[in-house]
Assembly symmetry: C2
Homo-oligomer: 150 residues x 2
DNA sequence: GCCCTATTTAGAATAGTTCTTGATCTAAAT
DNA sequence: ATTTAGATCAAGAACTATTCTAAATAGGGC
């Protein structure tokens, strides 16, 4: 599977994206996250992989980069309960499903032409800028999780 | 506003609820949370109020009680990003809205006859046992937040 | 190349939460 | 009433994820 790094590196290497520089460290952090695909790694996990590509990088920098990239809207932070924050490069509107059985985090896509906020009765005049939807249960995808169902 | 403590104290004081004892401390923690209504206090905030009713109570006990009550399904834990966990005694299916302007947390009810998961394309065979929906934006409810809108 | 500022590094500090230990309480059995 | 076993509590230590701090470094504009 080719690494999905082009989106960002072509358009922003050594240039600005939203007023920020795409530094080597930020590029590495983004690349690592994109390479991990749908795995939703934590900062510590990203740090391990980033260190392979750039041994001098520090954990604080990984945190800084993740914050910068999140602020720039290039990646998303995913918080499930109070566990360590996870990150993903999938920017389509989607929810997260944590499987109690296999302990993985899955992306759940929005149904065709559905609107994530549509089932909620929001007060008039309110404006939603961000939405995080986290579900927990049994994914039913892997054999073990299928048998787990009562 | 009368304190909404009866639900639990009548049925469970000194008795079991789900195999657990409703101890004085658990009762106090529940009462404090219920009395705070829709304010979504943190453990530390609950601790302050609980100490007024029972000066000997400790923070660790507040944490223990909150965990126990959450596990028993009597209250809900609400996590928004990585901020301190908040708690609420409102058990109806609802989402949370954090207002960036007034920094309050509001309950958002489900629309009539709507299903919270209905907009998401869940994999076949999956089973959702819990769902947390957190929105962030401007509530538009108080005057300041109304003027905040562009 | 030099200067200015943004960024990085490493480690200390912090906040929220969990863990540990011994004390206390409760319910049930004696 | 006493004993016993197990659950719960209090206090503080420990832990974890994250943020902060200060000094070093890097990169773009001149």
């Amino acid at each position: 599977m080719a690494e999905k790094t082009l989106d960002i590196s072509i358009s922003t290497t050594a240039e600005d994206f939203g007023g920020l520089r795409m530094t080597k460290q930020r590029q590495v952090v983004y690349d690592v996250l994109a390479a991990l695909g749908r795995e939703h790694p934590t900062a510590a996990e990203i740090f391990v992989d980033a260190k392979e590509r750039m041994p001098s990088i520090s954990l604080a920098t990984v945190y800084n980069c993740l914050e910068t990239l999140t602020g720039a809207g290039v990646i998303r932070q995913v918080c499930i309960d109070r566990a360590a924050a996870r990150y993903c490069a999938n920017l389509t509107p989607h929810a997260h499903f944590y499987c109690d059985c296999c302990e993985k985090v899955f992306d759940i896509e929005l149904k065709d032409s559905a609107e994530a906020t549509s089932v909620w009765s929001l007060p008039k005049g309110s404006k939603v800028t961000e939405m995080q939807v986290a579900m927990r249960g049994i994914c039913g995808l892997c054999p073990r999780c299928r048998s787990e169902e009562s």
